[in-house]
């Protein structure tokens, strides 16, 4: 049967793409992120933020005002670390959803050194960093052990271990570690030599740490032999094993590194922002880490850049909270929308719509 004449002759074909140039992929991803931002803007306008204010007040202010620029960078440090933590674990398809639990453990371990006044002041800070990394990796290593030994799915175990860590934290803050000075549920103030040094904007210990971690992870994943092994494990575990790649060791290393980075992330929030352990310092970072790794496609350099953009979102979200009484969960809503639009854009990377005459 001939098609009616008012319809165009031809049809839309859905085809599978075999290969798409890197540049085009980036274009599609950025386009998708922009759509997500537009949708988010519409929601903010609906929530009562005047449209004209959105761009000028928040985005431009955040980037041009020195104080908020500093806040963005301060925010970026821990986000870079959790983003790297996510990327490293996801590279071996270990779905570490326990970044927050590992952050909490990192902070608890570092704070313990302060509470018990352990070690001479000169090496206190390095000791705290080591303790944070060790506690973080122990917590992610526990999930790895459960997976290897008892076949417990890590998505479940890492997620639930977050709650174990959280309630331990609350127990400490409402109990043994409660600040005796003001009886608030937070630990006593860190001493000066326990805080990361600030050599004047923008050279802050926190940023140096984030930068160092980024470079180290980049080296490990892209330049070292371990990087090639991890790519094989990611792509085809069976072939990797048959080729003699130490699959278990590679996975264990990536899981432990992920936990250590998250532990550091937790510690620097505690150390830089309040200078003491608080009960919700980790809020939103776990999900952000996953989001950053996802948007950066587990690439450490891209993760660092995405982390800075998310930091802008965090700082903007804080001003929204102050000026428009918009809850901070709006930030998480925006993150979720961007994840969805970017995830949906995968379809266009793998497929193509084409008009066939």
């Amino acid at each position: 049967m001939a098609s009616p004449s008012f319809l165009p002759a031809g049809r839309l074909n859905l085809e599978i793409r075999t290969n798409l140039a890197m540049g085009r992929q980036m274009l599609i991803l950025v386009g998708a992120a922009l759509i997500g931002i537009l949708v988010s803007a519409a929601i903010l306008v609906a929530a009562g933020v005047p449209f004209g204010e959105l761009l000028s007040e928040f985005v431009i202010q955040t980037l041009l005002d020195p104080a908020s620029r500093q806040a963005v960078l301060a925010q970026a440090g821990p986000l870079v670390l959790v983003g790297l933590a996510g990327s490293v674990a996801f590279r071996t398809r270990f779905w570490n959803l326990g970044l927050e639990g590992q952050m909490i453990w990192g902070s608890i371990a570092a704070t313990a050194l302060s509470v018990f006044d352990f070690g001479p002041p000169g090496v206190r800070l390095p000791l705290m960093l080591a303790a944070a990394a060790t506690a973080g990796l122990a917590w992610s290593g526990l999930a790895f052990y459960l997976k290897e030994r008892f076949r417990v799915n890590e998505i479940i175990s890492t997620l639930l271990l977050n709650y174990v860590a959280l309630y331990l934290l609350l127990d400490l803050l409402y109990g043994a570690w409660q600040d005796p000075k003001d009886s608030f549920p937070h630990s006593p103030q860190f001493r000066d030599f326990e805080r990361l040094p600030d050599w004047g904007w923008p050279i802050h210990g926190e940023l140096l740490l984030a930068l160092l971690a980024t470079v180290a992870v980049f080296w490990l994943l892209s330049l070292s032999r371990f990087g090639l092994y991890i790519r094989f494990v990611h792509e085809n575990k069976g072939a990797a094993r048959a080729l003699g790649v130490p699959v278990r060791a590679v996975m264990l290393a990536s899981v432990l590194l992920s936990g250590a980075l998250a532990g550091w992330g937790g510690f620097i929030i505690t150390d830089v922002q309040e200078g003491r352990l608080t009960q919700s310092f980790f809020d939103g970072y776990g999900f952000s880490g996953i989001l950053i790794a996802f948007l950066a496609r587990n690439n450490p350099l891209a993760a660092a850049m995405v982390a800075v953009l998310i930091a802008v979102l965090f700082v903007t979200g804080q001003s929204l909270q102050i000026f428009y009484q918009i809850p901070f969960s709006m930030v998480q809503l925006i993150e979720a929308i961007i994840v969805m639009t970017v995830a949906a854009s995968e379809f266009l990377i793998r497929h193509r719509l084409r008009w066939v005459a």
Binding site: R11, N13, R17, T18, N19, W219, L223, S224, R225, F226, G227, L228, R231, F232, H234, E235, N236, G238, A239, A240, R241, A242, L243, G244, V245, P246, V356
Partner: protein, 500 residues
């Protein structure tokens, strides 16, 4: 002349590569029509166009003499065209009846399942085989799953049935059974397309053959009027010489396997006391009907399958039965596994990464902290040239984009680099066309000539007889007989089944 399907000047490109370049094909009522060609000749692409899966870039499709445009597999089914793919499209946890009902709805589910069961019984009766409609798909053998696919397509009302390389997964006996059934179907008026690259099937079962090369049709004729040499020449362009096995001196012992036992998780014994020896400069062939322990033997040798008891000694690596693959490989073991995409290559990684990984592990491309990417790329480029890996647009291209034959050449290039002590090859030419197959055989013989020891496990008896110096026949997890070359085909065949 009664042509039920005609494809004229079909063109189809994928990412700039012309898979079909003006292909023609004519199918008549009641015939078994073989579509013959090398890997990548465009056979499957052309049939996917006929089945409505690919929209052609150009050309015409005539069904029953009328031009049609197929908007998808559903429309092709409505026109009476059904295709059985190489990789089955079946839902594993469903029963046979549920799978068939899913593709061919029959009203309400509860009523439909009864209807479809009656139809299945009727159809299988007619075809002369048995399929239990209540069995779950994952409890069926590959041959049985294929029957389900055929019944599914026929109950969809197909008068044209396309089988894409149907015998690739079957034993000789199963293949003969299937093709006899197809002949019977054709005698009742169905048009059958048999996509294949096995000449034997073409000459024995097809009424006509269309030969394709490079995305075009080169000839259509009655295969009975052609000699095998003529058909081969039409398929590959020039006649290929069969491999020449020169006499070599056998050297020292390279592999001793003794009393090897492997057990499945289910407790079934897969290997039951396997023992044999292989010397340098020798190809030891293992023949047998597939599923008699060959995969487990290869796994035990390469270190991917756990050994329950027994000993494997390899010169240069010592007793390796319980050592991980890395130790074996650093001792000089090379492996060419049966499923190259699952066991030998990381499809998402580049050709360079896939080639160089073995050398990286041996420390040939820099220390732990540094990968010498330039040297890796250079070595990969040289290997791609030396082993004639085609379809490489760049070394950064994903290995998964290589066709079967070229992927296998890449694996060979990696595994045969250096001077392996022992090569374990499992079905190295499976799924490859005549030219790629010849290249693989040539490489194995060259390895033998330079003094490597080779264990060749293959379901293809001709391959084993053509290459091996000694042949062990496997049956029920044991080596039941050994033959020296030149071996008697009949005697081997008897050994394969007598103990089975």
């Amino acid at each position: 002349m009664d042509s039920v399907l005609e494809l004229r000047a079909i063109r189809k490109s994928f990412a700039g590569f012309a898979a079909l370049d003006g292909a023609d094909f004519t199918l008549r009522r009641g015939e078994v029509h073989a579509l013959l060609g090398e890997n990548g000749a465009g056979k499957s692409s052309l049939m996917n166009v006929a089945a409505g899966l690919y929209a052609p870039d150009g050309g015409r499709i005539l069904i029953g003499g009328r031009e049609q445009r197929l908007g998808g597999p559903r429309e092709a089914t409505a026109q009476g065209i059904g295709m059985v793919h190489q990789h089955f499209h079946l839902v594993k946890p469903f029963t046979v009846a549920e799978n068939i009902l899913l593709a061919n709805p029959r009203g309400r589910f509860s009523r439909g399942i009864e209807t479809i069961e009656r139809e299945i019984a009727f159809c299988t009766n007619m075809l002369g085989f048995v399929v239990d409609p209540h069995r779950r798909l994952d409890s069926l053998s590959v041959a049985e799953q294929q029957r389900v696919e055929i019944v599914k397509v026929l109950l969809g009302g197909a008068t044209i049935i396309i089988l894409d390389e149907p015998t690739a997964v079957l034993t000789d006996e199963e293949a003969d059974g299937l093709l006899t059934t197809m002949r019977r179907l054709a005698a009742q008026g169905t048009a059958v397309v048999l996509v294949t690259h096995k000449l034997r099937e073409v000459t024995r079962y097809a009424d006509r053959v269309t030969i394709m090369r490079g995305g075009r049709h080169v000839a259509a004729c009655d295969p009975k009027t052609m000699s095998t040499a003529q058909l081969t020449e039409l398929t590959v362009g020039v006649a290929l010489p069969s491999p020449v096995r020169e006499k070599t001196a056998r050297g020292e012992l390279r592999l001793i396997v003794a009393g090897l036992r492997v057990e499945h998780e289910t407790g079934r014994t897969a290997l039951d006391g396997v023992g044999f020896q292989v010397r340098a400069g020798e190809i030891y062939g293992i023949a047998g009907v597939s599923g008699n322990g060959q995969s487990e033997l290869v796994g035990a040798l390469t270190g991917t399958t756990a050994v329950a008891a027994g000993d494997i000694w390899m010169s240069g690596a010592g007793h390796i039965a319980d050592r991980p693959p890395a130790i074996r490989r650093s001792g000089g073991l090379a492996a060419i596994p049966a499923d190259r995409y699952a066991q030998a290559l990381a499809g998402g990684l580049s050709i360079t990464d896939n080639y160089a990984v073995a050398g990286v592990m041996a420390g040939r491309y820099g220390p732990w902290g540094w990968l010498d990417r330039k040297a890796m790329a250079k070595a990969a480029a040289a290997a791609v040239r030396a082993f004639d890996v085609q379809g490489v647009r760049g070394l950064k291209q994903r290995a998964g984009l290589l066709s079967g034959g070229n992927a296998q050449k890449l694996v060979l290039a990696r595994e045969l680099a250096g001077d392996p002590v022992l090569i374990v090859a499992h079905g190295p030419s499976r799924g490859l066309d005549a030219r790629a197959c010849a290249a693989v055989h040539e490489r194995l013989l060259a390895a033998r000539a330079r003094g490597n020891a080779v264990v060749l496990v293959s379901d293809d008896l001709d391959e084993v007889i053509g290459l091996a110096d000694r042949i062990g026949v496997m049956s029920r997890g044991r080596i039941v007989a050994e033959f020296d070359a030149p071996a008697d085909r009949q005697a081997i065949g008897r050994a394969m089944v007598d103990h089975g």
